[in-house]
């Protein structure tokens, strides 16, 4: 896994980034906007995959990390009047801190209990957002005003509401996180994470403090998800409680499962796939969720390890 063909793996990932860059110039307006959103949410999926795919910890509460970034960045702009880069960092910091606290508590459990504990914490987070409606806008949410969504870089200023700027910002975040993920999973630390997933008891007997390793993974995962949330607030201007609901804890799980758990590019593929199945199906019928459900069942039947996971298993063993 980590020894074979590093050049090939990096070439593939850079190729995907180049393809996404090129698509910006050819896609029609609607798909251009949709893909920008998909890239931001694929970052969320990559953060989720770090924990679920590589460490094997199934969380049902990752909406809280996404929402921590979303509200962290949103509050910083709306209530504190901070500029875009500071607000983005504030969102990430909120997510990292939350992940540290949740990790310390939730990692006392494993398996089903871990799922339930993370889900409960996320529900608490969601209800807290609704409760403090005076600041959070409750279920209405908040809109980040357009004039505040401008990135000033010396003399030039980038308007994040401009479709091209928005697309390129989303692509930049996506690329950075993708390459970080690739580097992490190929590193010594990535090897330890996989070992914990495969056999935690054995990993301990090789001298590893598995609790600390898992805690770091929760924090890294939560931080990436928060970066996605912060970018979402700043690029799309909406900070709403629906993005903290349980649905947004389950979506990244679905995206990752579809694309292939423990594959670096699976998160993107799964997110694109799900978005377009919904998009195309809802063009034909109002019962589009039925079609989504059938598509999911077919995938589980024929691609049990997700799209990329199955491709790796059958044909391309070197995929990271």
């Amino acid at each position: 896994m980590s020894e074979a063909s590093p050049a090939k793996a990096y070439a593939l990932h850079l190729g995907v980034i180049a393809l996404l860059f090129a698509l910006s110039f050819v896609l029609p307006e609607y798909h251009h906007g949709l893909l920008a959103r998909i890239m931001v949410l694929a970052v969320f999926a990559m953060g989720y995959n770090m924990l679920f795919g590589y460490v094997g910890l199934l969380s049902l509460g990752h909406a809280m990390f996404f929402a921590a970034g979303l509200y962290g960045a949103g509050f910083a702009v709306i209530h504190l009047g901070w500029n875009v880069p500071l607000a983005f960092l504030a969102g990430i910091a909120c997510g990292a801190l939350l992940a540290l606290v949740i990790g310390l508590l939730a990692l006392r459990t494993t398996g089903v209990a871990f799922m339930i504990v993370t889900m409960m914490f996320a529900q608490v987070f969601y209800l807290v957002i609704l409760y403090f409606a005076a600041w959070t806008g409750g279920d209405q949410g908040l809109v980040v005003p357009q004039p505040a969504r401008v990135l000033n870089l010396g003399a030039t200023s980038l308007d994040l509401t401009n479709p091209t700027v928005r697309y390129m910002s989303a692509l930049a975040l996506f690329s950075i996180v993708l390459l970080i993920t690739l580097a992490v999973v190929r590193s010594r630390y990535g090897r330890v994470l996989v070992a914990v997933r495969e056999n935690e008891e054995r990993t301990k007997m090789l001298g590893y403090d598995t609790f600390s390793n898992k805690l770091i993974a929760v924090v890294v995962s939560g931080t990436i998800c928060a970066a996605s949330g912060a970018a979402y607030a700043l690029l799309f201007g909406y900070v709403g409680s629906s993005l903290a609901s349980v649905q947004y804890s389950i979506l990244p799980l679905l995206w990752v499962l579809l694309g292939g758990a423990a594959t670096t590019l699976g998160a993107l593929i799964g997110t694109v796939f799900m978005y377009y199945v919904i998009d195309i199906a809802s063009g034909y019928t109002s019962a589009y969720l039925l079609i989504v459900g059938i598509a999911l069942i077919l995938l589980v039947l024929f691609f049990p390890k997700g799209i990329l996971g199955t491709i790796r298993q059958r044909w391309l063993g070197w995929l990271p």
Partner: protein
């Protein structure tokens, strides 16, 4: 000379069963010690207590002059106690290389060894004769090779005490001969504690033998002394007809 490992009145209960019942045990640096005894005598529980996989009900474990009784398993590993599992538990989905890379990079991070991961991994794989299978998934290795991989992982931890729990179980006779050579080689740099059912292996390898029965030490001595011990013959080897 100070013993490398001492246990004092070590005990572990499972419900009403006293699996290990007040064991006083000493192991000198550099020796190869075999632990034998009938099934259920408490051998695996005893070495699990030493490695920290399970906590004792009472008693004390001293390793290299420090009390490690309440220390978690991973810290004992870093202190130099390596345990190879009775039931092969290599990481089946990882390559043989990655299996050994895990302990190698651990010792590099600790500063207990120097160099690169790759060099350390290939050295351990070569010592166990697995170098040409480095990139095979561990789960696809033959059983004998998985046992050897388990030993390679133990070796890669740079142990001062290597605990081998029934290492020759399931090995062919030809593999056992190589294995005996390997353990002799390992013993030049580490103390070896060996649980073993195969008596010819025990008699060839062990400097001293400790016999367990019903959670207690029944006898201890050189292979000759143990062979001549009538109590041991009754309890374990079976009385001669």
């Amino acid at each position: 000379m100070m013993p490398l490992l001492t246990t004092k009145n070590l005990a572990r209960n499972f419900g009403g069963l006293r699996a290990v019942d007040g064991v006083d045990f000493q192991l000198m640096p550099g020796e190869i010690r075999a632990v034998i005894g009938p099934n259920g005598a408490g051998k695996t529980t005893f070495v699990s207590l030493i490695s920290g996989r399970i906590q004792p009900s009472s008693g004390m474990i001293v390793f290299d002059g420090t009390d490690i009784t309440s220390r978690p398993a991973y810290l004992r590993v870093r202190q130099g106690i390596a345990y190879t599992f009775q039931i092969t538990s290599v990481f089946a989905n990882l390559s043989a290389y990655d299996n050994v890379a895990l302990p190698v990079q651990r010792t590099l991070t600790d500063g207990r060894s120097k160099g690169a991961v790759r060099t350390g991994v290939m050295a351990a794989l070569e010592r166990t004769g697995l170098a040409d299978r480095a990139h095979m998934p561990a789960g696809q290795l033959s059983y004998g090779h998985q046992r050897l991989l388990e030993v390679a992982m133990g070796l890669a931890l740079k142990p001062r005490l290597l605990i081998l729990d029934e290492p020759t179980q399931g090995l062919a006779d030809s593999e056992i001969d190589n294995f005996i050579e390997l353990v002799r080689e390992i013993a030049k740099s580490a103390t070896v504690l060996l649980i073993e059912h195969n008596m010819p292996v025990v008699m060839q390898l062990a400097d001293r033998i400790t016999v367990f029965n019903a959670g207690r030490i029944l006898a201890e001595g050189t292979p000759e002394q143990i062979r001549a011990n009538t109590q041991v013959q009754e309890a374990y080897l079976g009385t001669a007809p």
